[in-house]
Symmetry: C2
Subunit: 388 residues, 2 copies
C-alpha cells in the first residue's frame, strides 16, 4: 500500500509543468560526468576483462581499502574484512533485515523514518516501536521509555545526520546517550548515513559508529548522494561476524554487486576526484537550501513550522494539527506543485499534518515559484479560501 | 552449508597453478571491451546526467523495447510492460521466490538443478519435488508422477536448454508434454534461459515460453553469458500481473537496476553489436567444447559416462555408482585440477557420483592437461591405484 502511495506521488510529480519537491533525487548538475567517464575508461582499458567478469560477493578489495581510508578521516575505523559492497544502501537495509528480523520481531525506528527502510523491513513482517523526534533528533529519554515497554527490539534504526525526511541532526549529547542505552541493553544500532558529508552549516559531528568505536553499531553509507545514485553502489561496515552473515545473505540475492561499477568508482576515488568533488555539491546544496528557506519564510503562513537543515536534501514542515497534508497535496498539485505527504514516513501511522520538501532537484526560480504557490494553498487551508 | 561448500570449492580452485573446471565463468576473451567502452561513452556523453540518476524500478524502456524485438526473433512475444530488468538473473530467481513461495511451499525442480536457484529458493524455506533428468532433459512422465504424489507445487523451475549443471537440452516432444502437464494442472513454469543462444551443435529449439505463447510461462534471461556477467543485467518476461508484483517486490530490495549499465547496454545493442558478437562466442565455445570432449574420450576411463552438450558451458559426467566425486575432488586437487562435485546440484541430496566440468574458462592446453590428470585420478579410483 505504502509503496503504491509513494509511487503514485512520484508519478504525478514527474508530469511536465509540475514543480516537484517530492522526490529524493540529488541535483543532476552535480554529477561528475567527465571525471566518471575517465574513470570508466580507465577501468575498461587498464583492468580489461577483469572489470567485466564475476567477482567475489564481498566486493572489490582495493575499493574497500580506499573506503576504509576515507572513513578513517571521519574517525570511522574499520578493515576491508568488515565491509560489504552493496547494490545501493537500499540493498543494505534489505540484507540487514534478512539477517536480523524474523516475522513478528520488532525494530525501533524514529518517527518519522526513512520510507525505504520501512519498505525493506516490512518484507520481514516487522513490527515497529516508534520514537518521536525533533530538530535535535530522537530523544534518548523517549528511547529508554519505549524500550522499557518493549525491550525485545532487534535493533535501533537511526539516520542521525541530516535525516530523511526530517532534515534534523541528532546532537552530540543525544548520540552519546543513545549509544549508552543501546550498549546497556545490548541492542545493535543500525546507523544509516547517506548524507553525513553533505554539511553546509554548523560543525561536523562524529557518527554513532565513530563515537562507539564501532562496538554495537552497523554503519551504512552510499555513493548515491556523493557521485551518482544510478550506479547503485553502497556499503556496510560492521563486525566481521555480521559481514560474514550478510555475505551469505547476499549471495542468493544477486551473487555480487556490479564489478565494472566497483572498478570505475575505485579509479574515480583513487585519483582524489571524490574529495575534490564533494565541496561542489555542498556549495550547490547550501545555495538551494538557502533559496528554499528564504522562500518558506517569505511565503508560508507563520503557523507552519519547519526544521532548518544543516545538510542533506530536505525541509520538514509541520502544519497546524487540524490541517491534513494529503488534502494540501491534492490542492497543491492542481496549482502545479508536488511534495510528499509526511504521513508515509510514520511507521505506525500519524504525521497527517507534515510535509517533506526536497530542494536538490529544482532551479532557484522553480523553488521560489513553487514555494510561493504552496504558500498560497497553505494560506487557504489555514485562513480559509479567499482570505488573502 | 551448501553455499559454503561451493565457496570453498571456488576458493581452492582459484589458487595459482590449479587448472579449474569448477567455476561457471564465461571466457573473458569473449568480452567485447572496445565496443562496450564505446557504448558506455555514448551513454555518458549523449544521455548525460540521466544515465547517472535514479530511474523507475521497471527498468529502462528503450532497452526493454530492444529486448522485445530481439526476443521476437526467437518467437518469444512480449511487450515492455511484461518485462522487468533485474540485477542479474540471480535477482530474478530471488524476486520470483519472493512472490511465489511461502515457507513450507514446494517447487518442482530438475535433479540436478542450478545451484543458484536452490540457494535463492532456500531463503523462503522451500521444499523440493525433484525429477530426474537425462541427456534429453526432464522426463514428462516423471513430472506427472511426481505431481500425482505432490500436486501442490508452486511452480516448475526448469533450465530446458544447455542445462547447468547437466549440459543437456530438453527435446521438443518433452517440451510440449511438459507445457501440457503444467497447463492442465495450472502450475506456472519458470523457464531459466541464460545459455539458450549459445548453441554450437544441433538445431535450435523453441523455448517453452515460445511454445506456450507465453501462457503460464515466466521467462528469464541475462546478459551475463552474452556480454558480461560483471555488469549484472538480467530480465524477466511474464504476464503483466506477475511483473507488477515483481516490481513491488524489487522496490524494497534495491529500488532499481543500475541506470548507467542499462543505458550503456542499450547503446551497445542498438548498434547491432550484440548480434554481431554472438557468433564469436559460439565459435569460441564450440572449439573449447570439442577440445574437452576429445580429451574426455581420450583420457577418462570408459566407465565414466557424460552428456555431450550442444551449447552452453558444461560437461556433466557420471562415475560408477561406488565412486564418490567428493573423494575424487580431493585427490584431483592434489594433482592440480578442480571441478564441482555434482552432489551440490541435487536439491534433496544424491548425485554423489557426478561431476560438473566447465570448459569456457581454460585454454586448450589447460583443458587437455587438466582432463588428462583428472583421467588418471579417475583411473586410480576405478581400477585401484597403481593399476596403470
Amino acid at each position: 500500500m505504502r509503496a503504491s502511495i509513494i509511487r503514485e506521488i512520484l508519478k504525478v510529480s514527474s508530469k511536465p509543468g509540475i514543480i516537484s519537491f517530492a522526490g529524493g533525487l540529488p541535483a543532476p548538475e552535480t554529477f561528475p560526468l567527465k571525471k566518471f567517464e575517465q574513470a570508466m575508461i580507465e577501468a575498461l582499458r587498464r583492468d580489461g576483462t577483469k572489470a567485466l567478469q564475476y567477482m567475489v560477493t564481498e566486493g572489490f578489495r582495493p575499493l574497500k581499502e580506499y573506503l576504509c581510508g576515507w572513513l578513517r578521516k571521519q574517525r570511522i575505523q574499520g578493515t576491508p574484512e568488515q565491509m560489504l559492497m552493496t547494490h545501493g544502501s537500499q540493498q543494505g537495509l534489505e540484507l540487514l533485515g534478512k539477517i536480523f528480523i524474523n516475522p513478528g520481531d520488532s525494530v525501533l525506528v524514529e518517527d518519522p523514518t526513512y520510507l525505504g527502510a520501512i519498505q525493506s523491513f516490512n518484507t520481514f513482517e516487522t513490527k515497529y516501536v516508534t520514537v518521536p523526534m525533533d530538530a535535535r533528533g530522537m530523544s534518548p529519554e523517549a528511547v529508554e521509555k519505549a524500550l522499557q515497554r518493549r525491550p525485545q527490539v532487534k535493533f535501533i534504526y537511526v539516520v542521525p545526520t541530516f535525516h530523511n525526511p526530517a532534515g534534523s541532526t541528532m546532537t552530540l549529547e543525544r548520540r552519546q546517550a543513545l549509544i549508552k542505552i543501546a550498549r546497556r541493553r545490548r541492542i545493535p544500532i543500525l546507523e544509516d548515513d547517506p548524507y553525513g558529508l553533505l554539511r553546509f552549516k554548523g560543525k561536523p559531528l562524529p557518527s554513532l559508529y565513530a563515537l562507539a568505536k564501532g562496538r554495537g553499531v552497523v554503519y551504512m553509507s552510499t555513493f548515491s548522494k556523493l557521485l551518482s545514485p544510478g550506479i547503485r553502489l553502497g556499503y556496510i561496515l560492521a563486525d566481521q561476524e555480521i559481514i560474514d552473515q550478510l555475505v551469505l545473505a547476499k549471495q542468493p540475492t544477486d551473487l555480487q554487486t556490479n564489478t565494472l561499477i566497483q572498478y570505475a568508482v575505485y579509479h574515480y576515488c583513487k585519483h582524489g576526484y571524490l574529495e575534490k568533488h564533494l565541496p561542489l555539491i555542498i556549495k550547490d546544496y547550501a545555495h538551494r537550501a538557502q533559496v528554499m528557506e528564504e522562500a518558506i519564510r517569505r511565503y508560508f503562513p507563520r503557523q507552519v513550522t519547519f526544521i532548518e537543515p544543516e545538510g542533506g536534501m530536505f525541509f520538514w514542515c509541520t502544519l497546524p494539527e487540524n490541517i491534513n497534508a494529503g488534502e494540501v497535496f491534492k490542492k497543491a498539485l492542481k496549482k502545479g506543485v508536488a511534495f510528499v505527504d509526511g504521513s508515509v514516513f510514520f511507521a505506525n501511522g500519524g504525521g497527517k499534518n507534515t510535509m517533506r520538501l526536497n530542494f536538490t532537484n529544482c532551479t532557484d526560480a522553480a523553488i521560489r515559484s513553487g514555494i510561493q504557490k504552496l504558500g498560497g494553498v497553505l494560506e487557504d487551508f489555514i485562513q480559509g479560501p479567499g482570505s488573502r
